[in-house]
Each structure stands twice: as structure tokens, then as C-alpha cells.
Amino acid sequence: MSPRRRNSLIVAGVAAAGAIVWFVRPAEQQQPAQSSVDAIERKPSQSPAPVRAAQPGVPENERPQSRPTVDPRVQKFQQRERFQQEVREFFARAPALPPEQRAARARDIARAITHYEAEGEIAAAEALTLRSGLVRETVADPVEQLVAIRGLQEHYQQQGERKQAEWEARADPELGLYKAREREIVDEVMAMTTIPDGLTRDEYLRRRLQSAREQLNN
């Protein structure tokens, strides 16, 4: 082994130990997570999931009282990874699943989507696409399927229109001030017979307007 590689491994080992010390901290309680949906419905501060890598092969009666638990960020990351895996598996295997199991898993996934939407980790369009996919996999009747997907679309459309209206209702005094100033500057520059600094009229106008925006933003 070359000295450089050996040094790299030592550095990696130290970093690994540091990372583990950082992420793994004692906890008094733990409950095993059964699925990403179970996990996300339990708040990390209440009962975090265990470090799975530390558990295999450890008999129950030999586990220490103060067992390592995962940093909430790691826990959240692991839950997200499991969720993504479960969704991919579901859509890959759905046609082969018994109807009851398929419906149950679709319900779980739908609940998880709701969770991640609330967390801001699934955007509206992605959520709509996924939910439409769940409908396609669980509703056999074509008409019922269409009605259900149309219902989803209307839901997201209405939600979007509401959010758009909320955004537009917000006053933007800076933009209002700028638009007034913008008009003045345009009128002034368009009336100029000579443009300073050897600039073209277009470039001079652009600079003047940017300068106005900068002043208002400060």
C-alpha cells in the first residue's frame, strides 16, 4: 500500500469515527420503524429509530440500556430513501400484487406523499403525477379512474389558484415604486438626443433601470 493511500485511509477512518460520534448519540427509548410511512408519522424528537447497522446479531437481552440512536437528519434521510424505494417498488410490482395489498400500499404511499408535501419536499406537479399513478394502479374501472384523476387535478388546480391569488394579493411596494421610476427613466432616455459615455441608447437605458432597481433594493 502506498503511503498516500495509507494516509488517505487513516484520514477516512478518522472522518468516519468523527461522523459516527456526531451522528450516533445515546437515547433512552427506541421503537423499530416498520416502513417509511410508519417512520415519518413519528416525530424524531419523540422516538427516533435505531441505528440499524449496529443492531444485527445483537441479542435483545445483551443490548445496553443506553443505546445509540440516529441523528434526526440521518433518520429523516433514511426515511426518505426508504420512501423512494417503496414507491419505485410499488409501481414496478403493482400489477402483480393482490388487490387488497396493492390498495393498502397505495394508501400508505398516499399518506407519505401528503407528509412530504407538507414538508415542502414534493412539489404540486410531482404529487399530482404520483397520485394519478396510484389511481391508475388501484382503480380498475376506467370511468372511475378518470373521475378520480380529474378530481385530483381539480384539487391541485384550485389549490394552485388559491396560492397564486395569495401571492398576487401581497403588496410589493418596491415593485410599485420601481414601475413608476421605470416609466420616468424610459421617457427621459427616449427623449435624449445624445447618450452619455459612448453607450448605445439600449445599453444606457438598461444601466439606468438596473441602477434604479438597485437603489430601491438597498
Binding site: Y116, A124, E126, L146
Partner: protein, 466 residues
């Protein structure tokens, strides 16, 4: 009995072992991924002072500017605001912003440019009804991605979602940059236009065709906040497709990924030499108009030529050859439908009186298809000669006027004559070896013979606001 120290040693070994396996080039090791959760990696190639100068230098947000960025907020669509001093601004003068969805597990990045038409006069830039215009004439809301804003040409693409029911593509695991569209100039312009109301009833419209400066400011921000990408895909559909093409060279140069990819979906820059006969080069009239209205000849095109020297300033369509030649190891692709009735309408409808005044819709569409066919055939021939720039041209999809092959899903972009699916083309660009796939479909019969697709029907309702 396992002691605590033994468990610790086990974890160290497990982490190190895990670190030896990478899913693909650019992915962090498992250990590094965990580390990144607590210590998000910052920039490793920030903008240098020398790069901030010049007309299209990388103008950075001022130090301490409240851009909204949270480095450790993984998987969330974060709104990033660009200060006026960066030169960025929306068409209506409002603040320009874009969106970042970061993951802890990879350096790889997709830059997705939103589609949404184009504008070059008062009616089209004000969003007047009855005319094809440009998206977001009132600017970009902070919560833009929460409002299902642009289903026709944006987030419903499998490229830019983490999970898709039926299509997997590696960018779903990458850092995502969503560049919204509010300047009506396919991300290429640099001019403050003053458009008079043809009716004379309203004040003139002051419109910032500021696309190039906005994109430059986005690049500057990315350089200052994220690690350099190992793999980067520049893509988008429609205006975002041509935006990904006309901004590719400076993105490629300044973001400096190890491996770079381009997929221009349905935003062709057709060959149209200045002064050419419109019957021979149907896009020349559009190009003449936008060169003037968007200020292309004054700054953006000469600037583009500094990155791709063989680009012919007299012919926007020469960009394909110029990029392919400048970056021979990049894998590049262009795709659109032969029966696209959206981009084609923008390209010809308002420039050819026989189309504008066609006696009926069928005649109008036939004339548009004829011109689109001329332009597409020439582009196809051109791309066939480029090993690293593939062209994929299916015929028809019963969705969104056959506009954009990659939105909603990758389905029904098939070329039955050759047993190809759109996914084959995407895989060829992103994961292939040797020449990038070229394929074209001669007949739309098989596409039109497909059964009614109720999902497409519903999505069309959504797109049209129905």
C-alpha cells in the same frame, strides 16, 4: 457481548466499506453523504474576481444578501433570489428568482429551463388573449412550484421529479436547478424593449428581454454556493429547450462539469441565414424579428461566439455544429415531433400571411406542418452528420399539440418503424457510448392508430385550463 467500542469499530469499517461503492460517477460515498447532512458541502469553485468583469461577467449576489438559501435543506425546492446588482430581472421589472432542490448524495446536477412560449411585441408580451405569448408576464411568485404553474412544459417532466410512476432517469437522483421563464426571449435576450399598444389606448409596455443576464446570474450563484458538478445535464422543453441550447456553451464553460450533456426538447434553432428566402428557410422571418426585438446582435450572439468560435453569426441554426465541434466529448441530443403544432405556430403563424389568413383551421395547420417539415428535415440531416449530437424525431403524440417529447412521461415518443422508444434516445445521450442515437419516424399512422389516451386528455384539459 459486543462492547460499545466494538460497535464503533464495526460502524467505522461498515462506513468505510460503504464508501468504496459509488452508484455512479459524481455520487458521494455513503459516509460522505451522511457527513453532508450535517455539513452541507459548499462551493469548491467560487467565482473569481476576474470572472465578474465584462458585459456578461458572473455578477454575484452581494455578500450577505438574503437570497433565501439554506444549504442543509435537502430535497426541498428552495427559492433563490437574485439581487438587482446581478443584472437579473423579470420581463416586468420584478425580481428574478430560481429554484434549487438539493440532495446530499451526489455532486451531479440537472439545469432545467422552463418552457413557455416567446414574445416580441405588445400583444404577445402583455399576455393578450387570442395570441401565443410568453409565460409569467407578471413575474415569478416565491411559491411558484407549489401552484402547478406550468404543467405543459415544466415540472411534470420525469427529468425534474424525484419520483415518477413509470419513468426512471438518473437525473431524478441529482441536484436540480429549475430556471423559471419570465422574459419571453428563450433565455437569450438583452434589451429593454418599449412596445406601443397598437390600439393606442394603453401606455406602452416596458419589457426586459433579459434572459442571458438572468442565466449568467444563475451560473454565478451556482458557482458560489454548490460544489462543481461531475455530471451536468442542461435541458428543458420548448423555450427551455432552445434556452438550454443557446446557453449551453457558457454553462458548460463556467460550471465546468467533468461530463456534460444536453437534451434540447422541442426548442429547435433552425437554420435561417440572414436574408434567406423564407420559402426555403421558413424560420428566417421569426429570426429577423427576434434578433431586433431581443437585442441579439448587439451583445448575446457575439458573446456566444466567444465560446463557440465556429458559430456563424449570420445563421442561428449553425449553433448545433458549433457546439458539437467545440465539445466533441459531450453527449448532446435534440428531439421534437414532426407534428409539433405549438413551436411551429410561434415560428410561422404571424409571419406568413397565407397562414395568418388561412380560410380554415385545417388549411392553417397543413401550412404550418409543411414549413415545420422543411425546417425539421434540414435539422435532421445536419444532426445526422454529427456523431456527438443526436437527433430524435418521432411523429405524433396526442398530448399538448405534439409539443415536447419529454413532458408528463417518456411514453408515446416511440418510433415504431425501428422499435425505438424515447427512453432509448435519452439513455443514449446520458449513458451511451459511441455516436449518439439518430432516429426519425417517417409516418404518423401508427401513432394516430393508438387508442384514446384518457390521461393525456385530462392533462390537456389541465394545460388549457379546462
Amino acid at each position: 457481548m459486543l462492547t460499545k467500542s466494538m460497535r464503533l469499530a464495526y460502524l467505522v469499517l461498515a462506513a468505510l466499506f460503504a464508501g468504496a461503492t459509488h452508484a455512479e460517477e459524481g455520487d458521494y460515498s455513503s459516509l460522505q453523504t451522511l457527513w453532508n447532512l450535517a455539513f452541507p458541502p459548499g462551493p469548491d469553485n467560487p467565482v473569481r474576481a476576474s470572472e465578474t468583469t465584462g458585459t456578461y461577467g458572473l455578477k454575484r449576489n452581494p455578500a450577505g444578501y438574503a437570497d433565501g438559501w439554506q444549504p442543509g435543506a435537502y430535497y426541498r425546492w428552495q427559492t433563490v433570489k437574485l439581487a438587482p446588482s446581478t443584472g437579473a430581472v423579470c420581463g416586468n421589472g420584478s425580481q428574478y428568482k430560481f429554484f434549487v432542490n438539493r440532495v446530499p448524495s451526489t455532486r451531479n446536477t440537472i439545469v432545467y429551463m422552463e418552457g413557455g412560449g416567446a414574445c416580441w411585441d405588445y400583444p404577445s408580451c402583455t399576455g393578450a388573449s387570442g395570441i401565443r405569448g410568453a409565460r409569467n408576464p407578471n413575474g415569478i411568485p416565491d411559491n411558484y412550484l407549489d401552484i402547478l404553474a406550468n404543467p405543459g412544459t415544466s415540472l411534470v417532466s420525469p427529468f425534474i421529479v424525484r419520483l415518477h410512476p413509470y419513468n426512471a432517469v438518473k437525473t431524478q437522483n441529482w441536484n436540480m436547478i429549475y430556471v423559471p421563464y419570465c422574459t419571453g426571449d428563450v433565455y437569450s435576450g438583452d434589451k429593454v424593449a418599449v412596445y406601443n399598444d397598437p390600439s393606442g389606448q394603453n401606455p406602452s409596455l416596458i419589457w426586459h428581454h433579459n434572459g442571458l443576464r438572468n442565466t449568467r446570474a444563475v451560473v454565478a450563484w451556482l458557482r458560489d454556493h454548490l460544489p462543481r458538478s461531475t455530471q451536468m445535464l442542461s435541458t428543458g422543453c420548448s423555450a427551455g429547450g432552445i434556452g438550454s441550447l443557446d446557453n449551453y456553451a457558457h454553462l458548460r464553460r463556467d460550471l465546468a462539469p467533468t461530463r456534460a450533456f444536453l437534451i434540447n426538447d422541442s426548442g429547435p434553432a433552425f437554420a435561417a441565414p440572414v436574408g434567406a428566402n423564407p420559402q426555403q428557410y421558413p424560420s428566417v422571418l421569426l429570426h429577423t424579428t427576434i434578433r431586433d426585438r431581443w437585442g441579439l446582435d448587439a451583445g448575446p450572439l457575439p458573446y456566444l461566439k466567444t465560446s463557440v468560435p465556429t458559430f456563424d453569426l449570420q445563421n442561428l441554426g449553425s449553433l448545433y455544429n458549433a457546439i458539437a465541434g467545440r465539445y466533441p466529448n459531450d453527449r448532446l441530443g435534440h428531439t421534437h415531433f414532426w407534428q409539433d403544432l405549438n413551436y411551429s405556430s410561434y415560428s410561422y403563424e404571424r409571419f406568413f400571411p397565407e397562414i395568418l389568413n388561412a380560410p380554415d383551421l385545417a388549411t392553417k395547420e397543413a401550412l404550418i406542418h409543411q414549413k415545420w417539415g422543411v425546417d425539421t428535415a434540414r435539422l435532421r440531416t445536419s444532426l445526422n452528420a454529427l456523431a456527438n449530437f443526436g437527433g430524435y424525431f418521432p411523429q405524433f403524440r396526442a398530448l399538448n399539440e405534439s409539443h415536447c417529447t419529454t413532458v408528463l412521461d417518456f411514453a408515446n415518443g416511440d418510433i415504431q418503424e425501428r422499435g425505438l422508444e424515447l427512453q432509448n434516445f435519452i439513455d443514449s445521450v446520458l449513458d451511451g457510448q459511441g455516436p449518439v442515437l439518430d432516429a426519425s419516424e417517417a409516418s404518423d399512422a401508427a401513432d394516430r392508430a393508438k387508442p384514446f389516451n384518457p390521461l393525456y386528455y385530462l392533462v390537456d384539459l389541465l394545460i388549457t385550463g379546462g
